[in-house]
């Protein structure tokens, strides 16, 4: 084991020139770092420079008022870093990291399909997983859609 989680958090806070809102440990060797949405590209680039070279994936989740995006990074040894940021559900826009982190292309397109987040500056936007005839503006992982499905399922037994 290389560094402890505390050492990594300390190092991040010292080396990262921008604003870090919150840090916490998740599981054995994951650090969740919350940063403002406007600086997400800069923070992801910083993580790659610091040795967390691999973007594992991006998780999107609807928290009601906001949509939370988690950019999970890892390097060649623990701990791993997840950059957490939130954007407003009624105006879900964020800068795309794909021009700087090419590994993000599929993940951003999938979140665009399922949660309706617009990744501005994505070099190849467009439907990835939903069918061509899927209605515009219906995002299957939004809370209201999950609620609708649950009601429909209970009606149908």
């Amino acid at each position: 084991m290389a560094e402890t989680v505390e050492q990594t958090i300390e190092k991040l806070r010292q080396n990262y020139p921008g604003e870090i809102l919150e840090t916490k440990q998740v599981g054995l060797h994951e650090v969740f770092v919350t940063v403002p949405a406007t600086y997400i590209v800069a923070f992801c680039k910083f993580l790659i420079e610091q040795g967390w070279w691999h973007l594992t994936t991006i998780t999107g989740q609807d928290l009601g008022e906001s949509i939370q995006l988690l950019y999970h990074f890892n390097g060649d040894e623990p701990p791993c870093i997840t950059a957490v940021t939130e954007i407003a559900t009624d105006d879900p826009k964020i800068a795309s990291i794909t021009p700087d982190v090419p590994a993000a292309t599929m993940y951003e397109r999938e979140i665009n399909d399922l949660l309706g987040v617009v990744f501005e500056g994505h070099p190849r936007p467009g439907r990835l997983v939903l069918p061509d005839d899927w209605p515009e503006g219906v995002y299957p992982l939004r809370l209201d859609e999950i609620q609708k499905r649950a009601e429909r399922d209970s009606e149908n037994g």
Binding site: V26, G27, H29, E30, W53, T56, D76, A104, V129
Partner: protein, 360 residues
């Protein structure tokens, strides 16, 4: 020369699973590729939200028919982390045993598919015949050829009897001998080499930038393997190194997978020797405390990633699954660009893609 754009898939004789590649070619060379997924999308992430954790584990196991154990194992590990459960040592070893048997079966399956894609159907038939040996072992231990239902939250469902262990040892000896032969064929048979050498090259830099995982990344000299980088289950007690190759082409990926099959056989034998006595399961509460967690496992195709958030009830609030095939598509596009159209099927097959995993 004029460029033409044509589709491979979603229904195509050269591609056995439904996924759509829109290929733009200039003469015989591929210049651009666009991928469209979702033809086997089953909304598994959404389905998990309507089910409790025990049901969710079964749903997640059905993401993939080849690496099903890894999905249920990763899900269980994430929930155990939220519950702060310590799994018994014997269960940890048994999980590794099934995971490595699954790796043997998956890599042999891939070798057969790759042989078939390059027109070497004799090898395909041979490999798939011998793959039955490991399938029989898995059926003996878990009761099923696929969807083993072996892992449960808090341990494993089935124990290994001494008779079963003896059968495993015998089966592994047969597999080692046969894999030795396949290693020789894959590295010396000229008709095979001519179709795979220098085809679908992925440089180390590309592999890192495009986020490749598993044997695809390791064949491009990126020594990233979740089993040894973030050891889980019984892996911290097993001392092995990631297998890499610096060839970066389809041959490199073949060699890495064949050598990993040997490594998996070694690990199985060591697990059988060192299997501790004791319980195989601890009780898990149905309600999971509020929180979020992440679990990573090394599937035969690469790292599987789960993110689970709990809201304190018996159903998860979010389950995110990242499968290795999805992570490898950007790298596949890079391999295809500049390649010959005729090599597209073997290049696509070389990452061992699983479309059901990709779509979920």
């Amino acid at each position: 020369m004029a460029k033409i754009t044509f589709p491979i898939g979603p229904q195509h004789p050269a591609l056995k699973e439904p996924e759509s590649f829109k290929i733009t070619a200039e003469g015989e060379c591929v210049v651009d590729v666009d991928i469209r997924l979702g033809y086997v999308h089953r909304s598994i992430e959404a389905a998990c939200l309507a089910r409790n954790y025990v049901q969710g584990q079964y749903v997640c196991e059905r993401i993939c028919g080849i690496c099903s154990h890894i999905h249920s194992n990763t899900f269980a590990r994430a929930v155990e982390d939220l519950l702060q459960l310590e799994v018994p040592a014997r269960a940890k070893y048994l999980r590794v045993l099934v995971a490595e048997l699954e790796r043997i079966h998956s890599h042999l399956l891939w070798l057969g598919v790759a042989a078939h894609e390059v027109g070497f159907d004799t090898l395909f038939m041979y490999v798939w015949r011998d793959r039955e040996v490991v399938q029989d072992l898995l059926e003996m231990i878990t009761g099923n050829r696929v969807h083993y239902g072996f892992t449960t939250i808090g341990g494993t469902k089935f124990d290994l009897t001494p008779q079963m262990a003896d059968k495993c040892t015998e089966g592994l000896m047969v597999l080692r001998e046969r894999t030795e032969y396949y290693k020789q064929v894959a590295t010396t048979e000229s008709s095979f080499l001519k179709r795979v050498e220098g085809v679908g090259v992925l440089t180390e830099q590309q592999a890192r930038e495009l986020g490749a995982v598993g044997p695809t990344a390791r064949a491009s000299n990126v020594p990233y393997d979740a089993r040894w980088v973030f050891p889980y289950d019984a892996y911290p007690e097993l001392d092995y190194q990631p297998i890499t190759s610096d060839l970066g082409d389809v041959l490199g990926r073949t060699i890495v997978r064949v050598l990993e099959t040997f490594q998996a056989i070694d690990i199985c034998e060591e697990v059988l020797r060192r299997l501790p006595e004791g319980d195989i399961q601890v009780r898990a509460k149905p309600r999971v405390p509020e929180g979020e967690t992440v679990a990573r496992c090394e599937a035969p195709r690469g790292e599987v990633f789960y993110y689970i958030r709990s809201n304190g009830t018996d159903k998860p609030a979010r389950v995110k699954v990242r499968t290795p095939s999805l992570a490898n598509w950007p790298a596949t596009i890079a391999m295809l660009e500049g390649a010959y159209v005729a090599d597209a099927p073997i290049i696509i097959a070389s990452i061992d893609p699983c479309m059901s995993c990709t779509d979920r």
